[in-house]
Amino acid sequence: MLGQSASDSEFKERLIANVKKEVKQIMEESVTKKFVHEDSSTVVSLCGAVEACLSQGLRRRALGLFKTSSTTALLHKISSNCIEAAYVSKKVQDIEAADPSKRSSSSSDSIIKPPILTKKSSSNSVSGTSTTSPNPNVGGQVFKYMWIRIALYEKKLARIIDHLVSNANRYYDKDSLVADPDYGSILSSLLVGPCALDYSRAKTQDYFWSDPSANELVQRHIIPSQTTPQASRRPMLNIKRMHTSSDDSGISTYKNNSPASTAKDYVESLHQNSRATLLYGKNNVLVHPKDVAEPMPGYLSLHQSIQYLIIKWTPNQLMNGYNDQSLPSSAGSTDNVDKSFYWAYVLNINVDDIVYVHCHQNRSSEETSGTIILVGHDGVQRPPIHFPEGGHMASFLSCLETGLLPHGQLDPPLWSQKGIGRIFPWPVKSRRRVGGLPSVLENNDEMPIDYVFRVVNKSNPEEFLATHPIMDVGRTSPYRPHLSSCSTNESSDCSSKSISLDLAENPIVTQVNQTTSIALVCTTMKRQIISRAFYGWLAYCRHLSTVRTHLSGLVNGRITPDIGAESGLTEERWKDLHDENGVVNLESEVYRLVYFGGVAQEIRKEVWPYLLGHYTFGQTPEERADLDENTRHYYETTMSEWLAVEAIVRQLDKEKTAHAVAKLSSGGSASDSKVKNGVDIDVQLENEVFEENGFSDLSDPEVEDDEKDSTKIPKVDSLPVDFDLEVKNEPKTINLEPSQPGGESMKSSPSTSSYETVGTDFVDCPMSPKLNPTAVIVTDASIDVVNMMAMEINEEKNNDKTNLETLHEEKMPSAQNSLDALQEPKSACVSPASSNGGIYSSELLDQFGLNLHRIEKDVQRCDRNYWYFANENLDKLRNVITTYVYEHLEIGYMQGMCDILAPLLVIFDDESISYGCFCRLMERMIENFPNGCAMDMHFANMRSLIQILDSEMYDLMHAHGDYTHFYFCYRWFLLDFKRELLYTDVFAVWECIWAAKHVSSSHFVLFLALALLENYRDIILSNSMDFTDIIKFFNEMAERHNVPQVLKTARNLALQLQTLIENK
């Protein structure tokens, strides 16, 4: 007996431990995933554990009529005494009623499939329960424990169990777990936690935070797409802006079927979702409800669902406040004392009910604020909506108008103005004025402008179609080619209508003459058809005009055929393109071949300078050779310039490093002593800003800095990046003294003049070495390395122009040699002949030194895993970059320049021509860098393009507001996809971009970016990736793209847009 009870308590202990474990699991899940999915395996296992506890020691007799020991029966039994149980019991019965097939099994056991379960969950649940479920049931594990689950979701489980425990003697054996004074209460209190969690079906991503790798995502995608290749895929080019049908949408996974509309849900429903497109949203829009003294700020939004266009306004208190509600309460209920009364002010207006839109606009300047009053069919005015300044009213109206299309419109329509967008009809006086609002008219300073728009709604097109068989004729007729790409219902309606117009006229018009009655019918129908067709056509045209205005600049008007260009520019073809004098004239043919098929690797070296504009078509070989020569010359001259500067910078650096190291070794004691004494000039200088904060007794180092600058003319102190101030007061450092008093007369002129003489061919290379007119002479006596090159430099500097010319002439034959010399690592680099000194402004030294360090850091890290840069070729990279930066010191070095240069260097393997081409390339690329404005433009264009070419993707991006900036494209555009692709692919993509300028689009990068998105669109959509997901995805996919495919897609996309625009 004793042993029996011991094993009994052991068993109970196990049961409780099981529940404990499951509770812990579920709490953990709620923490890691932010929510617990209703179909999560942990829920099933928890329910299993609870069921096991409840079944143990259940008295059959207590259940009376129920034949089995089912806990479901127990629930129904206690429902008369326990409110919560009654509630849950009702729900269970409801579900059974809704799905009668489950009824038979439900009363006998709890194996019930709640209809809410999705198929997806089954795999999860099975794997989860098999280990934990104490009494596994055959095959039905997924659908088990329905009442426990429902009680859990409804957060009533703990109370039901509490009830059972307190009334245990009625239903349970004396030695059962539930009846046990300890275990019983433990069980009910354990479940308090899980009952407080939120269970959700809304988000189906179980892997929400577990971040599957890009690879996994691609794999996942491949598996289903093999069986149904792109089954759900919609045609890409959607002319219709708004995606209104949600059923076929890949993002319908968001769908929240939950009937309970909580406050939070309400606010979330204001976001873009699959059921309704958010057309407009603006916060802090004032609305003045009738019984409130002050206008209230709130969030105004415009939603378009399949049937309705709805204007919503929600007070800020509700927008911000839903978080405060501890447990979600029903939207309309008054659970929450503080906030609930605001629900009364919420506006929810169906535009169908609105007949007039009154606008009052104060036009004092360009910035306008305005008020809109909506008047319903019943003549009742809705509360006035005040828009803040900044054209918000206009944009709201514009969105409203867009939303009404194509079945409704504003009358009169807003004016569409190129470039600016829609504006108000003008002049004002011809429009109807609104009386009865004198308050607005009182502001005589600011001329008030009032409009009334009528909202014209037409009947549902589907009904219309059903009753008008003629429309079907129109529907089945072939669309015009460019219209066939329309895919959403609305747009295809438009097209069919525009054709039915013709059909209506031809066969029917003949009938009119025969019979008058038929004629009458036909005329009526015709009129209807024509008017409908007209409006549809108008909407379509208007939309296309928007498309054109925004995007026509992106592509070239002329479409180039790709016939015979697939194989690209082969060596043979390239040879054929040269005439007998070695001149290439067929410019367009070259571009066309390159665009559609790329360049053969062997001739890239020859073709690229043409593509980049370094060579021009039609140049003779001699001219090209001259150009090369000049380029080399210019390059070498510039390089020798900066090498001289570099030598000075380096020397200063060396001194400072030595000094700093010396300081550091004694640093500990020095700073200690400083702490004690507070005045130690050395330390004070060296420590500079760093210790400023800790020691208030020190004077402001910045001020100090300035003082020194003004007193000491040869300012070298701030030039090297790493070490700032300490040099100047040190006797040990470089002697800075003007050694050539006469030298200043030359100032910086020699260097600039040398650019001029050589640089005449460099039309597009800005020659602006920023030399400070107040240049100072820096002589570095400590450098004793004298080198031929350095001598040349100094001669160039000190001799007049003619001398310089001859020098260059002499240098040319040995140009290659000296070039090689230049390619030597910097140890062998020249330093200016110290005795002569150079003339450099401190500013120049300063800037150049800073850039040198930056370049160094990045060159070292640039593609060192690529074979070409595994050796001293990195020095070539460094030389070209430094030359470019030296020429553009006002811009300076920016991260990414190395990446842009590297592929050129790989192809040319020659510094000067790489430099020439790099300059050309950078003309376009520099705008992408932070000081240019091209990046934002790219982002904006991407947005428009996606909107036009892939509305589904656009909807997704719209839903995640963060997409607005498209930062995941940043690196793509900055480096022309260089980091995204392998080297061989970079070559192919780059030449395609260059050629595209002359073939399809000078913004081809946009189409490449779109193509990348399109290639993975199904993955992106099915995982409804947000901003961060997509950044991660593409970072992981770098260098793994199928480039031929991407290029093909990009060309097709460009062609699509060209076609679209060409067809007006």
Binding site: A196, W209, N323, V661, N693, D722, R854, Q895, F929, N1035
Partner: protein
């Protein structure tokens, strides 16, 4: 105990170029060091699940471009950060000097609710190198002056102190996160029946 709504900790790594931001991140997340990293362009992030105070949290570590010119990009990435890691190179004094501006810039761009107490962590990286130029003392003094920022000397190459540093980062980020939720007016509901000792935020005293 507060509600456990958000457990994604967003951590931003800032610092001059080539101080080792990418290396630190990769060393921590992937336990790998490579000398093949290129200069970061744009931004990237890695995630790692860690246990802090018995809680499993996901750290989303954002690696950014080091050149100050690209800071304007930051706004999009800094938003919602829970902790900011400032990295400098112990062999390059200038990278240390720039910590000030990195910190200021971050506070301006991310505009956290409580800038005074926003958790920063400072890492002095590359201590495996010989030519050290910033003393621990100096770094510590700076950190002390900035509201006692925890300071670690790390080597991404050798993996020295990296785990420890990021553990502190996670802890401080979590504390920040929790604080945010409390000040955000979330009611406290007891969810977990198991007692869970909330550790008070305590900066590492390294």
């Amino acid at each position: 105990m507060a509600t456990r709504k958000k457990v994604l900790l967003k951590v931003i790594i800032l610092g001059d170029s080539s101080v080792g931001k990418t290396s630190l991140m990769n060393q921590y997340v992937n336990k790998r060091f490579s000398n093949q990293y290129k200069a970061t362009i744009g931004a990237d992030f890695l995630t790692k699940e860690v246990v802090v105070d018995d809680r499993v949290v996901t750290m989303q570590i954002w690696d950014t471009a080091g050149q100050e010119r690209f800071q304007s990009l930051g706004v999009a990435f800094y938003r919602g950060a829970d902790c900011c890691v400032l990295v400098f190179d112990t062999t390059a004094p200038n990278t240390f000097k720039n910590l000030d501006s990195w910190r200021d810039e971050f506070l301006i761009q991310a505009s956290p609710r409580n800038p005074e107490h926003f958790p920063f962590v400072v890492l002095g990286n590359k201590i495996d190198l010989e030519n050290r130029a910033v003393s621990s003392k100096r770094a510590q003094q700076w950190c002390q002056s900035k509201n006692d920022i925890p300071y670690f000397e790390t080597s991404a190459k050798e993996g020295i102190n990296v785990d420890l540093a990021f553990q502190t980062i996670a802890k401080n980020a979590l504390a920040q996160e929790t604080e945010d939720m409390e000040t955000g007016g979330f009611p406290n509901i007891t969810l977990n029946p198991e007692p869970n000792t909330r550790q008070n935020q305590n900066d590492c005293s390294c």
